[in-house]
């Protein structure tokens, strides 16, 4: 299994390299980082522009710039930002933690919700519960994530107004003045995460619960489940040990494949709740034509997606002993 993991990581390195090159081309060609400086009024002296051109490596040819960026990565240098004081590596790390907290928790909530809803729907097929769950699933599938997030945010604000004090946090990833003490900080962060997590999880769970329902129905119809029943096992044991365990396998793949979509969803959710996370970093960088920040962002997310898919493949083998990676 270790050999398999190493081989998979090795195989994904060329993909990362080529995709980083393609994105580098797109990002470099899609806007001039000096725009902000050039259109400033009064215009800055030509020396300043020349200095900036050199600092942003714009005087080098495109391939040379890519090579400098690539080799710089090994020394932990992500390249120069349009904002000369910004250290991309440090900023990205800080934002990455903020965003991954949200994504991890939302995915956990969404998976649990999807499994519970999917299994209940399958076991009680064609019941009122099933139809309600199916309808809700389709509704959340059709709902734009930002619309739901804005609604939840407004509901939080209304609730705070009704109670007369700040119970639910609706802006930011943590309070501007962070409270003292470790536990107070944890509580503060958790309070800020409630609404974004709910909105991201609700958007993500819908498709997964459909998969879970379909795979559970398929498994419940299989011979080994019938055999387990014939052996006289309790309904609970049949469902949990024999049916559910096998029905979980497709979901691991779907979850892993959807990670890129959830990252996109997180960008939108963060924007609604005004978090200073990865989403804000990316959108600001795109607006400023900040090539190297966009590159760092895409590199980190692509790596996370590839690693996550690897973990899903390994999980596959744990859930289904028939699959062996030699």
């Amino acid at each position: 299994m270790l050999a398999f993991a190493i081989r998979r990581i090795a195989a994904s390195i060329p993909i990362l390299l080529i995709s980083s090159f393609v994105v580098f081309l797109l990002a470099s060609l899609s806007g001039n980082p000096l725009d902000e400086l050039l259109f400033r009024n009064p215009p800055p002296p030509p020396e300043v522009i020349a200095l900036e051109t050199e600092r942003l490596r714009l005087d080098e040819p495109l391939l040379e710039r890519y090579w400098l960026w690539l080799t710089g990565l090994f020394t932990g240098d992500f390249g120069p930002s349009v904002h000369s004081t910004l250290d991309i590596g440090a900023e990205l790390t800080r934002r990455f933690i903020v965003t991954m907290r949200l994504i991890a928790l939302a995915m956990l909530v969404a998976v649990v919700l999807a499994v519970v809803v999917g299994v209940v729907s399958a076991v009680k097929q064609y019941s009122k519960t099933d139809y309600t769950a199916t309808f809700l699933g389709f509704l959340f599938l059709a709902m734009p994530s930002f619309w739901l997030a804005i609604l939840l945010k407004q509901a939080g604000i209304d609730f705070n107004d009704a109670v007369g004090q700040q119970v639910i946090y609706t802006i930011g990833a943590s309070s501007v003045i962070e409270p003292d003490g470790f536990w107070a900080k944890v509580a503060d962060t958790a309070g800020h995460m409630v609404l974004p997590t709910i909105s991201l999880a609700l958007i993500s769970y819908a498709a997964w619960s459909r998969y879970q329902r379909a795979s559970m129905l398929e498994v419940m119809d299989s011979d080994y489940v019938r055999l387990a029943r014939a052996k006289g096992l309790s309904n609970r044991r049949v469902m949990v040990r024999h049916a559910l365990r096998n029905a979980l396998i497709p979901l691991t793949t779907v979850t892993a494949l959807d990670l890129a979509a959830i990252i996109s969803g997180a960008v939108v959710t963060e924007t609604v709740f005004q978090w200073r996370g990865m989403g804000d970093l990316l959108l600001t960088a795109i607006r400023d034509n900040d090539t190297y920040v966009v590159m760092a962002w895409l590199l980190v997310t692509a790596t996370v997606v590839i690693l996550f898919n690897l973990i899903a493949d390994l999980l596959y083998a744990v859930l289904d002993p028939r699959i062996r990676y030699a």
Binding site: G31, A142, I150, V267, T301
Partner: protein
């Protein structure tokens, strides 16, 4: 249900004379009739189709007939919904009903163009890769994988920031990323079809590769492709509105449903009607398209209904 019979040999009575009405007349049913029959039995899909057609008519015909132009300033500022302004007006007096209809037009146009374009490119790409296999397959699918590893929204935002503005450029940007998903589906279908006997027969008859792909593989994969394209319209609507919400999609003075929600979010407490109507239209469009896709799936591939609800 009568099996679709073999085409009757040329009627002796001539093509114009109708066949005599007998107790056991077997009417010929084409594939199209069978599919239509099965689709019409899916009640939710039929209702959804009706709602969607009504929405499209409302957007295009209603939008043309409505007394206010989109973007036109009326003397009524911040009016709640009334007979004169069914969806109310915004802070500068723009009629929200006209705006929403215009936004629906733009959002639908983008979504349909994305679905058409990415289906066309993705289907052929996947079919070629799946049919030739080996090196061609590896290279072509790595290109698809490359696109699939990138968070769609990020790359779309980057490209749209540069090219953006007009609705068809945004469609091309989204489609330029989405065909990779379609190519995966189409490759999967073609891989299983490739080994079938009728492909072997076509090869034995000396059909060229182009002919086999276009005349034999693609038509047989058409069911999955159509279902996929339908669902793509719903996905594209959601992506376009998200892009416009973030400020990288359709830009003022033109409008889209996402842009309308974005403009309304700051006034949610004072002018809630501005926020709810465009959102409801997005949900209604995406929901009905998903249901239609579901009905089409059941109609085009009845084998799948065993597992699905």
């Amino acid at each position: 249900m009568p099996e679709s019979p073999a085409r009757p040999s040329a009627p002796a009575a001539g093509p114009t004379a109708p066949a005599p009405e007998r107790e056991f007349t077997v009417a010929e049913r084409s594939q199209f009739h069978l599919v239509r029959h099965r689709f019409l039995q899916h009640r939710l899909a039929v209702v959804s189709l009706g709602v969607l057609v009504a929405l499209v008519l409302l957007a295009y015909v209603g939008g043309a007939l409505w007394k206010y132009e989109p973007g036109q300033f009326t003397p009524d500022n911040s009016q709640p919904p009334s007979w004169d302004h069914p969806f109310g007006t915004d802070a500068v007096g723009k009629d929200q009903f006209a705006q929403v209809l215009r936004g629906t037009q733009i959002s639908l146009q983008i979504a349909v163009l994305v679905a058409l374009f990415s289906t066309l490119v993705g289907t052929i790409w996947g079919a070629v890769a799946g049919y030739f296999g080996r090196g061609v397959d590896t290279v072509m699918m790595r290109v698809s994988d490359l696109i699939l590893t990138l968070p769609l929204l990020a790359v779309a935002a980057m490209l749209a920031h540069h090219f953006g503005g007009s609705w068809w450029l945004i469609s091309l940007v989204i489609a330029g990323l989405y065909w990779a998903y379609v190519s995966r589906v189409s490759r999967g279908v073609v891989l299983s079809l490739r080994e079938k006997e009728f492909i072997e027969a076509a090869k034995a008859l000396g059909a060229s590769n182009t002919r086999i792909i276009l005349r034999h593989l693609v038509p047989n994969a058409l069911g999955s492709i159509i279902v996929n394209a339908t669902i793509l319209v719903a996905i594209a609507i959601l992506l376009e509105t998200a892009l416009s919400y973030l400020g990288f999609g359709v830009r003022p003075p033109d409008t889209s449903l996402g842009l309308l929600v974005s403009e309304a979010q700051t006034a949610l407490t004072t002018r809630p009607w501005l926020f709810y109507f465009p959102g409801l239209f997005i949900i209604l469009i995406a929901l009905t398209i998903n249901f239609i896709g579901d009905g089409l799936r059941d109609a085009l591939d009845p084998r799948q209904t065993k597992v699905r609800a």
